[in-house]
């Protein structure tokens, strides 16, 4: 990367990381290990405490299967909805000018700041049996979707926004001057450029939706086989002193999230290779 400036000794290295190449990488690895990898390894260790048959037994239990189906399907719905509306929101925030825009921009991140249990309480008050606006979706799957939509909205908005800001508008103008309708410009020029960002935002939203507990536990009703999502079921296993079972089911969630995240990044790499 940086050529040793032997011929120009007065030029000093401006990149300390390049001067100490091992340090940055070492710090990154150590940090990642302590904060993420070690806990994950501990989880895998716990999950295999009952052996392979114990793992299968834990994961194949009928209530686990039902909860997995529910969690995956609501997560997929949420991802699709938030990909569409998150992209629209990002578009409005980048391309449109209106009073209070920076306030709206700040509001988008609030779901990250609120404690999830507070989100649950507020949604229950607003969209529960005593709803002041007459919408009651509490204790149904719709309620779960609503809570997860709230929790995962920032992901797509925040991954699409910077791409949209960087996007070269001359391409769009060229297409328009050649007679392309606005929708065609969006479909042929803008969307292909945004797609990788939408996908990676969607993948993060999916992973978060699979594991979300606090905002869902109040509004879902938690009826096994009906409205009980996987994280609530896992809490039940812990509370029943079935640590290995809880870890095994968590591992399934982890693998699902990993597969989606890896899949998206492969798709993106494949996409960029075929673009150029």
């Amino acid at each position: 990367m940086s050529q040793p400036a032997a011929s120009a000794p007065r030029v000093r290295s401006v990149n300390p990381a390049a001067a100490l190449p091992g340090l940055a990488a070492g710090t990154a690895v150590l940090y990642l290990s302590l904060v993420v990898l070690l806990p994950l390894a501990a989880l895998v260790w716990q999950a295999q405490a009952g052996g392979w048959s114990g793992f299968l037994h834990a994961v194949r239990a009928p209530d686990v299967q039902a909860a997995l189906k529910l969690s995956i399907s609501v997560a997929l719905i949420v991802v699709v909805v938030n990909s569409v509306f998150g992209t629209i929101l990002a578009w409005v925030l980048v391309r449109d000018d209106f009073p209070g825009k920076s306030a709206v921009n700040a509001v988008v991140d609030l779901p990250f700041a609120l404690p999830t249990i507070v989100v649950g309480v507020i949604l229950l008050l607003l969209y529960g049996p005593s709803s002041p606006i007459g919408i009651d979706v509490a204790y149904t799957r719709k309620g779960i979707v609503l809570a997860l939509m709230f929790e995962t909205l920032p992901f797509v908005v925040r991954s699409v926004q910077p791409v949209l800001l960087e996007l070269d508008r001359e391409m769009e103008q060229a297409a328009a001057s050649l007679g392309a309708a606005p929708l065609t410009v969006f479909r042929r020029i803008v969307l292909p450029n945004l797609l990788p960002a939408i996908l990676s935002g969607g993948a993060l939203a999916f992973a978060k939706a699979l594991g979300e507990y606090g905002s869902v536990v109040l509004i879902s009703g938690n009826v096994p086989f009906s409205t009980q999502v996987v994280p609530v079921l896992i809490k039940g296993r812990i509370e029943s002193d079935d640590q290995a079972g809880a870890a095994a089911i968590s591992l399934v969630l982890l693998i699902l999230a990993l597969v989606i995240l890896l899949g998206i990044s492969l798709l993106q790499r494949w996409g960029t290779r075929h673009d150029r």
Binding site: Q46, P62, A138, Y139, N222, V223, K235, G236, R237, S240
Partner: protein, 325 residues
């Protein structure tokens, strides 16, 4: 060590602790389940006014009973523990944190009692008085999921034992649980979530500890409560850990004094020390029973609450089949 990763995730939500000045004197680390927090605020103040309690400082941690027990088991420092049910202390005994003789006192380790009661809407519009009333058409019952809420297991055992007291066979009593859970539209994660659900307008009856019903009324909730003729005596248990300082033991002794038990009574808990009364009436249900009458927690945990083979796992499965369509 490894238990910690999962245990803390569950405990994290209820952590909150506050330490008061150390001052070189002894301090007691109190770890308890959620509801007695208000009572302990008064009790610690009153203890401070006794010779034994002079200059003793407290750090306090409250959360769901099972999570708190698991946190202590995983290493959270604790001198004095108070849980909603005995298995949460047994866990600490099994791992050597609490002496096996913890229940060798006059009260068998039980600090205060309560009973499982029916919390109903103000004026009891649906006329709920008996366990049979809960399974009448159109009645919605709220009770936490017995797998996520350890404390809610008292509710299940109350329902089951009441059927036996009514003269049914064990098989018929189990059948009642199947029937009952067809009337449960929401199974909250914890007792406090269930109370939120109920006060938000969902359901006709909330199965709850009597002391929590009293507390809800004190808090201004528009509810009444009914104590059914057949119900279980809830026995909440307290102990000191093996490493506890003498001050913790003195605190435990203090909690059994008539003065302390009166504070419990005024907070809605049934005192275990005879002759103590408070501002609430605690009528003894004519057909009260205890967990020992049903075989004790060990047996009940396996028979009812094994997450895959227990009776309640099957009950949950049966309602799932009928509601998931």
């Amino acid at each position: 060590m490894l238990v910690l990763t999962l245990g803390l995730a569950a405990a994290g939500c209820g952590g909150g602790s506050a330490a008061s000045g150390a001052g070189g004197a002894s301090s007691v680390r109190l770890v308890a389940y959620s509801t007695p927090a208000d009572a302990y605020a008064e009790l610690i103040k009153a203890f401070d006014g006794t010779p034994a309690g002079k200059a003793v400082s407290f750090s306090q941690s409250y959360g769901p009973s099972g999570s708190q027990s698991r946190a202590v088991d995983a290493g959270q420092p604790a001198d004095f523990v108070h849980f909603a049910l005995e298995p949460d202390i047994q866990r600490l005994v099994d791992d050597g944190k609490v002496s096996a003789s913890w229940d060798q006192n006059q009260y068998k380790g039980v600090l205060v009692d309560s009973v499982v009661s029916f919390v109903v809407r103000k004026g009891n519009p649906k006329g709920i008085h008996t366990w049979d009333d809960l399974v009448k058409p159109g009645v919605e019952v709220i009770t936490p999921n017995p797998f996520t809420s350890g404390g809610a297991r008292w509710n299940i055992m109350a329902a089951y034992g009441a059927q036996l007291k009514e003269g049914k066979t064990p098989a018929q009593a189990v059948q009642y649980l199947y029937q009952l859970f067809k009337h449960v539209p929401v199974q909250d994660g914890s007792a406090s979530d269930a109370l939120t659900t109920f006060t938000n307008g969902k359901g006709d009856v909330l199965l709850s500890y009597e002391n929590e019903a009293i507390r809800a009324q004190q808090g201004g909730a528009s509810v009444d409560y009914v104590i059914p003729d057949q119900t279980i005596k809830i026995e909440t248990v307290a102990a000191v850990t093996k490493t506890a300082p003498p001050a913790a033991k003195k605190f435990l002794q203090y909690l059994y004094t008539p003065a302390a038990q009166k504070i419990w009574a005024d907070n809605g808990y049934r005192p275990v020390v005879p002759g103590v009364t408070g501002k609430y009436r605690f009528p003894t249900p004519p057909q009260e029973f205890t967990i020992d009458d049903l075989g004790g927690w060990d047996k009940v945990m396996t028979d009812f609450f094994d997450p895959t083979k227990g009776i309640m796992a099957k009950v949950e499965q049966s309602i799932g089949v009928s509601t998931s369509s």
